[in-house]
Symmetry: D2
Subunit: 316 residues, 4 copies
């Protein structure tokens, strides 16, 4: 790689930026709150930014019709980044005269491409919109379950390919991404992130993994610095996706392990798409010379669920 | 209901049609074959009809941007139509400080909204495109696995609402649907089914179930008569979906339990969407006064799998 | 059947007994408490009655060496008494060159033969020995998990065959069993229940099910009346098993749905064996003319688990 | 460790023994066959050696009544020796007011303590007693399923502690055990293995793992050399257990990966207990000064299953 940085280099050199403090992140919960914005019974959060008009406009801008998956295969092999592998068994084969199967998945974590429901993360005993965390029991999520997304997410997707912006193959594990990166991408691609967009941030995680092998994600994942939260709020992003988990790990913010997860989900009501794969999409965008597209995300209708594995499809 | 028929009335009265014989269905495997049409290594079958141009054209016709799910919630309750209920357990709750869960699903059968991979059905020891059924082992489907659909299905969907055409609330269990019904729907809606379409046929199953309670599907399901197969072939339908399983049950064709599954999947390479729910979509189409829309189906990337649960999204 | 009674006949006719009140049951939590009896860190409860001497004595009384299972097959079929069927899939077959499989089980409920860990039931926020119920989280049971039974239960088993005592084929759903029945059985068989015994009470549930078909257990199950609790305490029973769930259902005790589960598990620390099958054992005991035997129960070592499916073996 | 050997040292030094050839092992299938010995419909194989008299005699020799588990906890953590970890989820916690859970297990492999059903291993298209391997389909094992063991295995267990015999802490991965070891153990302990015994062979695997960490079992496991097969046959051993998988791995026999599994299961009808843990039992036997005991194995009644996780209990 072109740059010889260690972990979290931008805090030490170059931008010379200090990480946010826990107090600063705590204040974001008020400053960037969407609680009540769409009513006291709202279950959708920032997905409300995706009006029918936004969806229609995104569809109208499809050009080639090329479709690209943003999902990894369901991860059936255990590894340091996959301690709870997907179980997949065949229940019908040549012998029985038909093909049939069964699979079992715990979508959260660092391996399965999935969307987090807003009930996934708590802050001070509350979930998005001020519902009590006690609504989440072993019977299911009484509020903000994934089934509220049954009508799907059909909106404009925008890919920010940070390694391309920085001129590297892949960001290093633990390397943070700043608002300046997002804006550099806007300038480079001519796409301005706007209300209702699905913002997809590529770190090059899977390229790094191909080269260096799997590792324990908590020891280092590239992702957005907490300073991006205000930017996401201002742009009225509806959904945030990453080939990692959007958060930098380990967290630069003392005592706040995952500020993006916490503030984006709980305060802002932004659904996160974790562990996606943008390698093919990045190539397709480069070929097409455009970095926005129609994005279709269709979560399974799991009543009171906290997540769904997904296969987001970009249509260029 | 307006008509006082028993099971399979149209064969006895009205249309006075005879069911196809097993020999006639057998001949369809040659007459309606797409084997080799897209090369000896083809894994996609009739999805090849969905070119990028077809996708782009479908996107361009979105008007309102309203999105509607065609999926049932994942069925966690057992019943006569659901002997293998989906397992759903919470693995994180208020006590643990986060919401998390796990689910397990065997998608085939008569309850889960799913898409069949082309490896699901065998005929005389072969699967679509002439691959041997022996490629389907307990290790997975060596050919025609569901992972080949990773780029998704983004095409025009057309809803044929047969109860509406026939002026009833819902078709009765076991009631067949004929090409005449499909063409009556075309005339009534002004939509002509064409190359690359996803044809969605509503029987009103779930309306019937609300009124009459659950029943054993093999004892009676409304669906397409085998005489529709040639029609599907001629129109170059890419995907076929139903709120049942597309087949009439019990089968009117002696010794061929599911002629639609067998000929459409094995000979024609048409993926089937089973156990969808078009009740909301039917209402939305009625309101919009249009019966075609953009349809987004995004199967999970389950390597060598035989199916995926799906949540197809219609965008009007 | 010989008697033409309705539900819970013994409260209305014959014995003319009044059900216990909720207050009376509440007092049993103090009167019959074993909390602290085996130390503040005890995890075994009444299993402490099974000393090595008790085990050795039970082994010494084996006569014929005939072994009899007390388990039902793992219930893979759903039904009114089995809403969460066991999942069983083959993962290796003739095609792969070996036989292999996978199963998934939620042992509690009314169908799987299982042993309850002492962490299964709470009373006023506490579990046996006064541990807080909050030790039971989605991470597992921090106290009283089933893994504490890893050394197994090898003790004397005593079968009380209530239908035989009462001269009927099977008790009716909802029919209570009283201390008088237990003592009548002692007189009839010459076996006196004593310290460390596994008391197995047959109601004839499965015989009834064969004749009448499956039903919803909460609507009627035969089991022990709450008046048996003091008797169990005095006799220092170590384990209590039933072909039902030991409790009469619906509960005759107002506001206390399962007094046997609650008092026996929480106060007395008695492990319960639910949904066993004593039909074969009853026949074997009749043939042998003896109603006590060596009983071997070997729970799986599931760390912090709340139960284990079991196959208790009686050795006559 | 006391000896400085590499892999499979006994073949190169000391005993100067040559491994068996594939032809020799092939001949064992005839020489050591129990097919037909207990009738053409036999489903139990060498368990037929455990007559009621054998069971009664084993019970009569219990002395102290101390019980010891031979099972590992169900392995929920993935690792090089556990690619398909047991899934364990809580379904009821403090919040719901009761403790409940769910687990899923694929018992075969190198981690879960389990018993192999006789349908597990095939040889030339056949399973024990000459049944066709084609009886093992995705619907289950039509012959020799684990449910045939519903009456349990209650017999004399004999522990052969090979590291103790050889004066080492643990055998090295890949180190073979010979008949001479078994006989040396007999001389050292005064126990002669006889008809109907459960022979338990300790290699010290878990002690080695504590010291060296987990490894990929196929790269090296201590176990019985194929030359032990005739010895097992002559002694009429009913069950064979190990803290490994009884086979040496990699196999010294060219082209026969697991001769013990193949000949013992298919030809001799001996059920194997894999991945047990004898560390506590070894200590208990040392303390008691006796190496035989009552062994109770109670497989779950999984209809047409190929294995069961077990917790074998030794009663000294």
């Amino acid at each position: 790689m072109a740059h010889s940085s260690g972990r979290m280099p931008r805090y030490c050199t170059g931008v010379a930026r200090q990480p946010m403090t826990a107090d600063e992140v705590q204040r974001l919960h008020q400053q960037l709150s969407n609680w009540g914005r769409w009513g006291p019974e709202d279950q959708l959060g920032a997905l409300n930014f995706i009006t029918a008009e936004v969806t229609a406009a995104a569809a109208s801008r499809v050009l080639s019709g090329r479709t690209v998956s943003c999902a990894r295969p369901l991860p059936t092999q255990p590894g340091p980044d996959n301690p709870m592998p997907v179980v997949h068994h065949m229940t019908g084969t040549a012998t029985e005269g038909y093909g049939a199967d069964y699979f079992a998945v715990a979508p959260h974590g660092y391996s399965t491409s999935h969307i987090d429901a807003l009930c996934h993360i708590f802050h001070e005993g509350l979930i998005y919109n001020g519902y009590g965390a006690e609504t989440v029991t072993a019977h299911g999520a009484g509020k903000l379950g994934i089934h509220h997304l049954r009508s799907g997410i059909i909106t404009r997707g925008v890919l920010v390919d940070v390694p391309s912006i920085r001129g590297v193959e892949a960001l290093e594990p633990g390397e943070p991404i700043f608002p300046e990166d997002l804006e550099a991408a806007e300038r480079a691609t001519g796409v301005t992130v706007q209300t209702g967009d699905a913002l997809l941030v590529r770190t090059g995680r899977w390229r790094w993994r191909e080269t260096h092998g799997p590792w324990v994600p908590s020891e280092g994942m590239s992702g957005l610095d907490a300073s991006c939260l205000a930017w996401l709020f201002e742009r009225e992003v509806a959904v945030l996706g990453s080939d990692g988990v959007s958060d930098v790990m380990p967290s630069p913010v003392d005592t706040v392990p995952m500020p993006i997860h916490t503030v984006a989900i709980v305060a802002m009501g932004i659904h996160l798409l974790d562990n996606l794969d943008f390698d093919e999409l990045s190539a397709a965008c480069t070929t097409a010379g455009r970095w926005s597209f129609l994005l279709a995300v269709a979560p399974l209708v799991l009543n009171q669920g906290t997540a769904s594995p997904v296969n987001p499809i970009a249509v260029l």
